[in-house]
Symmetry: C2
Subunit: 202 residues, 2 copies
Amino acid sequence: MNVQPSARARILSTARELFHSRSYVDVGITEICRRAQIHKGSFYHFFPSKRDLALAVIDDMAAEWARGFVGEAFDPALPPLERLDYMVDAVYYWQKAAKDLEGHMPGCLFGNLALELSTRDDVLRAKLTAVFQRANTRFRDTLDEAVETGSLAPVDTGETAAAMLAFLEGVILLAKTQNDPEVVRTLGPAIRTIRIDHHHGS
Amino acid sequence: MNVQPSARARILSTARELFHSRSYVDVGITEICRRAQIHKGSFYHFFPSKRDLALAVIDDMAAEWARGFVGEAFDPALPPLERLDYMVDAVYYWQKAAKDLEGHMPGCLFGNLALELSTRDDVLRAKLTAVFQRANTRFRDTLDEAVETGSLAPVDTGETAAAMLAFLEGVILLAKTQNDPEVVRTLGPAIRTIRIDHHHGS
């Protein structure tokens, strides 16, 4: 019974690497099975469809991020606004390491899949929306704390958080287009300047 | 001799629509020819490869934008910072119209192709980088004018322009993920708050 978890894990890590370095549509199940050294029959035992595999890849990567550098960046021991700088730095070092290894900056897997698939797969779109929503909550909680502790003038923290997340995704997009992680380091710190004030007289 | 330009135009508009509503890899030359009612032999007369087609689609769309709503948004008769609001509005109405028609928000064709292809095609990547660079110049010229006329405190206009373009692409990305053009209208106006100051003692 030990074989099954490791076979599933091999499929997951192979698919994640291929989806991230290329795209979802460009990578077929046959190639994933070949590279993961899995029989196609076993594949369908773990994942009834390619979409099911992509859902698991997204969950897997989101969980790893939450435990890893996103968790570190949003360390409650850091002053709240410094967590934003830490997050930008983490994105920079991650993209730079990937480029040094593979020759090309892969960008954000979630952003890549979102632009590739959102018009065509509402199930994957909903999954990615949930991932972004959780990231949004981290930013919003951080901004709430910054406002409470006086390091940030009052803003609409929910909308400002969403705008900051959008900015980070957009910076990664431009950096990937130029294949230059330095773009993240040059533009990223401007995340702190973004603000959306309360509307509607509140 | 009248047939050739119109056949080429049919291929271009069909490919653009399909690449935009789905993706580059997902759409094959056979499907493009069928929908455009072109023989495959004629296709290769106009475009030696799918990449050549994509290069032409990008040029075609960039030229149309420059003549169309981007040209209108960056109208020199408008106060410079209002051009940014106009650009955000134009993106909103464009995405809303596309969603009303097709059911899904297609996002920015350039951003979509950039995330899909940048790791795998340096020729298309360079073309998209040039498109973003021209957009960047429009933003920078606008910010230069705003600083000169006193409506904006001095900033590093080149880097701030790039950050604003990144923000716009990121907002479109989040809106496409949620399939909700209203996200553009809610978050987009924060483009005005982004700023990157001069570094290095200048």
